[in-house]
């Protein structure tokens, strides 16, 4: 990086000094950024007692899992919330990856009437604020289709998002068309071409879409709040909100619940950090 002054060999000391203070500054800022997460996880190991002044410490003296027990004992559906979240996020992810990849391939490589028009119509969906569609969508799902409190209501509106189709189109559009032409010459049918040629070449964007979609669905709060009526259909985020509402003074159990709701994403993040970070830039940098 030549933005910074480069030091010659006999100036090693000055270079270490510079790296040192950069690291120090970044570490301080990182600690401030990560503190809430540290505090959440650490406090979750506290005892499930009603909070008083004593519960605010930066370290728990006698770590225990009792607060997790307390959280799971609160409702007989606590585990079901997690299962529901996994189910909704899992199905949405699978559907998004498959349908968005197929559509991205069609929009970028196949010639059919209305291709450009339909794609720009789809882009329109990305520009409309969520608030506009929120009320009509709620009326449609709950009053017209009477789908409230079902998995279908939780999954259907996000079965495949315009954003994912856009991502897939950008990525697949940059693949060389010659490969697909050659496969067609060999007599390869379109579905076979999609599955055997396009999908293997699009693993990166498929991984990125999968992670983004799973994360968004896992963390989403308002839509499940609106369309679920009974505890057994709620997702972990909605269940967590209800738990906190009923147990406002139980600090450690609340943090245990929060940790439970965040943990699957943390595990996924540490396992697949590369794709998470790639997913951030892939939508921003012109494809």
């Amino acid at each position: 990086m030549a933005l910074y002054k480069s030091y010659s060999k006999n100036e090693k000391g000055r270079q270490y000094f510079r790296t040192g203070w950069i690291m120090l500054l970044l570490t301080i800022l990182a600690i401030v950024t990560l503190f809430p997460i540290y505090y959440m996880i650490m406090s979750s190991f506290g005892a499930p007692v009603e909070s008083g002044a004593s519960s605010y410490s930066l370290l728990v003296k006698n770590p225990t899992l009792e607060s997790y027990q307390f959280f799971f004992d609160y409702s007989k559906y606590s585990f079901r919330w997690i299962v529901n979240s996994f189910l909704v996020a899992g199905v949405s992810t699978l559907a998004n990856v498959i349908f968005a990849t197929a559509a991205g391939y069609a929009f970028s490589k196949l010639r059919f009437k209305g291709n450009k028009l339909l794609f720009s119509l789809l882009l329109l969906a990305m520009m409309i604020p969520y608030q506009v569609t929120q009320v009509p969508l709620y009326i449609l799902i709950v009053n017209v289709l009477r789908m409230d409190n079902t998995y279908a209501a939780l999954i259907a509106p996000g079965l495949v998002t315009a954003y994912n189709v856009f991502l897939a189109k950008q990525f697949i559009g940059s693949l060389p068309t010659e490969i697909m032409e050659a496969a067609k010459m060999e007599g390869c049918s379109q579905p076979a071409l999609l599955i055997r040629i396009v999908m293997p070449l699009s693993k990166t964007v498929m991984a990125v879409m999968a992670i983004n979609t799973f994360m968004n669905n896992w963390n989403t709060f308002f839509w499940p709040l609106l369309v679920t009526k009974t505890e057994n259909m709620q997702t972990i985020q909605v269940g967590l909100k209800n738990f906190s509402f009923a147990n406002t003074t139980y600090f450690a159990p609340m943090m245990a619940g929060a940790t439970v709701s965040a943990l699957p994403m943390f595990i996924l993040f540490f396992a697949l950090q590369k794709y998470f970070l790639e997913g951030v830039t892939v939508g921003a940098v012109k494809g």
């Binding site: 990086m1 030549a2 933005l3 790296t19 950069i22 690291m23 970044l26 800022l29 990182a30 401030v32 950024t33 990560l34 809430p36 997460i37 505090y39 959440m40 002044a53 605010y56 349908f99 968005a100 197929a102 559509a103 069609a106 196949l110 010639r111 059919f112 339909l118 969906a125 604020p129 608030q131 506009v132 569609t133 009320v135 009509p136 969508l137 709620y138 009326i139 449609l140 509106p157 079965l159 315009a162 579905p191 994360m215 896992w218 963390n219 709060f221 609106l226 985020q237 967590l240 619940g257 929060a258 709701s261 965040a262 993040f269 950090q273 970070l277 951030v280 830039t281 921003a284 012109k286």
Partner: protein, 303 residues
Amino acid sequence: MKSKKGPALQKKKRKNTEENRWGYIFILVPLLVFAIFTLYPIMDAFIISFKEFKPLKTEWVGFENYKNTLKNSLFYKSLANTVVYTGITVPLSLALSFLISILIVPLTKRKQNFFKGAYYLPAIASGVALSFVWKWIYDPLPSGLLNRLVALFGVDNQNWLGSSKTAMFSLILMALLSSHGASIIIYIAALLGIDNTYYESADMDGATFFQKLRYIVMPLIKPTTVFLLVTSVIGSFQVFQNAFLMTGGGPDNATTMVGLLIFNKAFKYFEYGEASAQALILTAIIGIFTFIQFKLTGDNVEY
């Protein structure tokens, strides 16, 4: 007809119709989802905005909902709140992200990845979980974490979320510290994309670090800054989850954002018509803001 054309042409024709057919099959599901869950709701939003929903029947009321919205002082207050929130959060968050990115780029790849991960982590935690933690950090008792921290600097005990003086500040602080992850990653990608020859020729002219920053880095990553600015402003105008979970818009509507106002109108008071009118007015405002930003920052952004 067909027999007159050569076999090659016929084959091409057959290929084309096949491409046509598969093209439609491949886009069928996204198109259906889009038509049912986006296009129809958008059109319905316009229709609903001219109606009033009553328990037994629904009436056409013309522009009544729009008139009521534009007469509603709370609508203006929530707009002002949203503008304040956005006007402070977005520029500060971008500046902080830029600073952090500049500090990260000279490091080795391993250290870069470590810090990228660390700064991005809050962005993947569920908003509900984070709002709980922050609620406790802002505990109004003297034993609350932030109160203990500011006490070290001799600042009096504050009722962070409960007082209309500090509630907005508290939401802004939380947003600043938990939402810069994505911008940092994008800035780093842009910074690493700057060609080394720019710096080399600047070095030959004897440019200082800050001159390089000012005359090379800032102009070259301007498209990235504009992209982040526009998308952050659009996002920030709609955001209300933290306000919903932490203050409920209070105290005295000091933290009621437009998004929250619309949500409450619709799902607390079930005034769908007025909620839709407000949402459409919000869309127009966002559209105008976006247009102005593009005009002010020049149109050198490509997507």
